[in-house]
Symmetry: C2
Subunit: 237 residues, 2 copies
């Protein structure tokens, strides 16, 4: 069944890069500069926690299309106010924090995994990050893909079908010829509903040490892999 797959669409936040460590570190640096005594890791978790609800409001049509940078900025402003530190954080600090999402470390095995997959498949980015954000992020993380696609090109966020089907259209393949690789059950569920093939890649540290990442055993997908090496092997790479 997977013999039809021609293109692999690779998710980014949590799947290819470690947002938790990267955001925690950069939030910590800005908080230290401003004398803000909040726990940066807890703040990073809260910030990421606003990600899906903010995108869902766009996809339900409750607000106009907005870039992920804009959604990150709004949720940042809200969180700073809720923690009573809005006064300590100026415009430059906030812009710097929004830009933190443009520069995150790859998981140690990501570059090798993508290179192995590229030897057999066309491998593209498919993320809810904006086109510019993803271009910056992938370059800084030392990852090389064949192309970048973004929810921005569909003006619709994953898990809505349009986000997945826009990538299929741009790569000129049928949905079942496109395989999503992601570490989140909601993303795999969305791709499957759009007619894609799906591979779940377990990333146990993806949500940091305090929250449980999604687990392969709980996900309905074509390939459930607990390591990058297993995923590559199962895809014949």
């Amino acid at each position: 069944m997977l013999d039809d797959v021609r293109v692999v669409a690779f998710d980014i936040f949590g799947t290819a890069v470690d947002w938790y460590s990267g955001i925690t570190e950069q939030v910590g640096a800005v908080f230290a500069d401003r004398g803000v005594e909040l726990d940066p890791a807890a703040f990073a978790e809260s910030w990421r926690g606003r990600y899906l609800p903010a995108m869902a409001r766009v996809d339900r049509g409750e607000r106009e299309w907005a870039y992920l940078d804009a959604l990150h900025r709004e949720s940042l402003d809200d969180l700073l106010a809720e923690h009573g530190v809005a006064g300590a954080m100026g415009e430059d600090d906030r812009a710097r924090l929004v830009r933190a999402w443009h520069r995150l470390p790859a998981w140690p095995d990501s570059a090798d995994l993508v290179a192995r997959l590229r030897a057999r498949y066309t491998v593209v980015v498919l993320s809810n990050g904006g086109f510019r954000l993803l271009t910056d992020l992938v370059k800084a993380a030392g990852l090389t893909f064949d192309a970048i696609t973004s929810a921005e090109l569909a003006r619709s966020y994953k898990p809505s079908p349009a986000a997945y089907l826009t990538t299929a259209r741009l790569l000129d393949v049928a949905p079942h010829q496109l395989l999503l690789v992601a570490a989140h059950r909601w993303d795999v569920d969305g791709a499957r509903a759009a007619g894609l093939r799906t591979a779940f890649l377990e990333r146990p540290g993806e949500k940091g040490p305090h929250r449980e990442a999604d687990r392969a055993a709980d996900v309905t997908c074509d390939i459930a892999a607990t390591s990058a090496a297993e995923l590559a092997t199962r895809l014949g790479c």
Copy 2:
């Protein structure tokens, strides 16, 4: 003035890859298979000659948006009929020839030039080829860019301003922060009219041995380079 440049948009056909040799060779192979006794080089030139007029009809609104593959197919069908060889060429042959534009050799210095530019700038593809075509072409030619943008994303072909400005919008830069690198005067003129910075790269063999390529001395641009090495140096790379 060029200090503002953040992103380089790199043209492909003739600028990064040698369409003339690649199409001549692949047309020659198909003609040989079918016993067609036309000169493949002259046919390649005629085929390419229909490229700008076909796109201009789209941009003038005389027809709906059509992918470059579709335009290539129409002009191929016309040319085969005009040469009296339509009967010799079946559906598979024609599809194979349209796909020839997805696989063309890079100029010998292209990979090194792109790598040098990428060390300082974000370097993206900007071509009238479709997104899939460009993804295939760049990969097969061994070139690595930071991202691929295409006239397809604007649904408007260069030299119309929308094609250039869509790339600026996706990379989140002002037009004057985006520099086009191209080997064609019409492309440089279009980019300049859209507010971009421009670099002309002379590719003397770009149109084959029988026709004169555009020359640096005849082009109005910010940088006129007669070699890849000169272009890289002038851009501080």
